[in-house]
Point group: C2
Chain length 371, copies 2
């Protein structure tokens, strides 16, 4: 942690272990100015493909391109239409083909500039282009800073579900500049803070308290509060990912709220945002575990308190609890036909036994309580 | 090496190192009978997707399915149309979607049964299905036994070139039963033995002599000669791949003949087979290096002797040398705009300096000598 040249805001470096060696997450307001030097050090390449969506490119393209141009780096912006529907096989193929047409060789690197859709899509392009080229992530949303840019998960959706095709491809570097999040709406920011709540719920009750105490500032995108909370939540994610990059054990804990959350997104036909759906998922999964006596009573309510402070409205609306439970069978975590969930032994600590089964009846009841 | 229960033919186990740990290549006539036990030991899974093309499935489907059925394993054959054109993005997506529709989870594994197209395609499905599931290769062609099934290279073609999208995804097990190659034509078998010639040319002159001495038997698919040559050539490939799985150095040696070979395939619009194109490529690349004084005179001619004993006709026909040299710029090995080649210091030993540039004029002249 140090004071940098950009107005005295602290910056941080968090190291994430991976099969290919550790990579740094550089975090701080203004670290983007160091991008050329960071690329030169961590991901030197003949050429860079700079992948971004139309919205982010419009907002931040000049800000990112200028230092690259000034440093004389050879880069090509590849822009795709904003939105989750772009995270598909055809967009992945299109971006790869554009790189081929532009003559990118194996000595290229991919930069992903944007939110989670972009970091996942750019990651999959990098993972598969000529069997893999180096990747640098530059997340611009809280969600991507907290979650998608770290840990090397990359992939695209199929009509049957999200992230069904993909790879693990660790970045060489993550450049996390919280000044980007000033252009997000409060609702969009909160999408990301919900994932931070998840980190706290599963692994660090003090982090949960930190988020609760600064909820208003986080919602507003206050740079100092954001940087502090990002530093802690990224460190939690980095520790888990470093222990279990390929999600065979401990990393599965980060799926808390996501098994129901993904089903809720699917049943809502993706009208409900990912953050809202995961918030509902955390509430209902923890409540179902309470009903089965696995989690102390009141845990789900305490989570509701933090979410509510962030302004997350947790209500199921018109969605059918039974349909949601049925939809969980499409989840990637299904093993031998049984759906398994992350269960909290208490707030801030997952059950040491790992994933556990929850009864469909308990899940339906827990969801019904959120109607 | 041991005598097995299937008629006294020796079987071999060759271990290949990979990032994920070593995996065995089980080689021998009749090892396919052990498939259920081998799967149980090396790739236990809830369900298996058995990927094969229409031709191989028609020839060998029952032979492979019967022991799996007898052992009570849950498997689903997924058959695609025979041919290189199936090795594309749409077939990869189709196979993945069929697995999704059939409810395959992360606790599945993929079996690739067939030639190089199948092992590459099945490998890419396994590499990317839910970010990667275990893979077992069951090569049925000499080419796949010698080359494609070992080392974890997986991928699909784009219209602009072969293997442009892919991944490194090491198998858990390779089951190599030379009885399969009895159903190949002599021409098809020789496709594979050309790759064995390449291993000898670059790394082991004694292996080259072994192939030369048994060329007739190899062409006819004699099981004993085939098993002996397979054992040695697989061991060479395994040693190289084990040192350099991700092709950052030593593994590039296995591209001898392939830089021109791929260009020849492209310029012939894929009318020329891969083996024929690589044979031409080895001849012309070594001859060009002779012309530049990097390789001893007569090396290319000695290679021609081995190839000729195998019945490989090395002539360029109507293809234009200049067009072939121009087409090399699409090769993945292009770095910073320069095309680099594997150069032989002598027969059986690559130049210690690694890849080297060859003049376009020398390449054109060497190719012209093959007209």
């Amino acid at each position: 942690m140090s004071v940098n040249a950009h107005g005295g805001v602290r910056d941080h470096t968090i190291h994430v272990a991976s099969r290919r060696g550790a990579y740094p997450v550089r975090l701080g307001s203004g670290v983007l100015d160091d991008l050329p030097d960071l690329l030169d050090h961590y991901a030197p390449a003949h050429r860079y493909a700079l992948i971004s969506d139309s919205r982010v490119w419009g907002l931040h393209g000049t800000r990112v391109a200028s230092p690259l141009e000034a440093a004389g780096l050879d880069f090509l912006p590849l822009v795709f239409p904003e939105g989750e529907t772009s995270k598909d096989v055809s967009q992945w193929e299109r971006l790869s083909r554009l790189m081929i047409e532009a003559g990118f060789g194996r000595d290229s690197a991919v930069l992903g500039l944007g939110g989670g859709v972009t970091t996942d899509l750019a990651g999959f392009v990098a993972a598969t282009y000529m069997r893999g080229v180096p990747l640098v992530q530059i997340p611009t949303s809280v969600l991507a800073m907290v979650d998608a840019s770290i840990g090397g998960k990359a992939g695209v959706n199929l009509p049957a579900g999200k992230n069904l095709l993909g790879a693990f491809h660790a970045p060489r570097l993550v450049v996390t500049d919280p000044t980007f999040i000033g252009t997000q709406s409060p609702e969009a920011r909160v999408e990301g803070w919900v994932e931070a709540v998840k980190h706290g719920a599963v692994l660090d009750v003090d982090h949960l308290a930190q988020i609760h105490g600064r909820a208003g500032a986080l919602r507003e995108g206050d740079p100092e509060a954001s940087t502090e909370v990002l530093a802690r939540t990224i460190a939690i994610k980095a520790a888990v990912v470093g222990e279990d990059e390929l999600e065979r054990g401990r990393r599965e804990l980060l799926n808390f709220g996501h098994t129901l959350g993904h089903a809720i997104e699917r049943v809502s036909n993706w009208r409900l945002s990912h953050g809202r759906a995961v918030a509902l998922g955390m509430r209902a999964e923890s409540r179902a575990a309470e009903l089965q006596g696995l989690t102390p009573e009141g845990t789900s309510e305490r989570l509701a308190g933090v979410l509510s402070a962030l302004g997350v409205h947790v209500g199921l609306g018109q969605l059918d609890p039974a349909a949601i439970v049925d939809a969980t069978v499409h989840d990637k975590k299904v093993r031998r036909g049984t759906i398994r969930f992350v269960v909290l032994a208490e707030l801030g600590r997952a059950h040491p036994q790992g994933l556990m089964t929850l009864d469909a009846a308990a899940l339906r009841q827990a969801l019904a309580e959120l109607l």
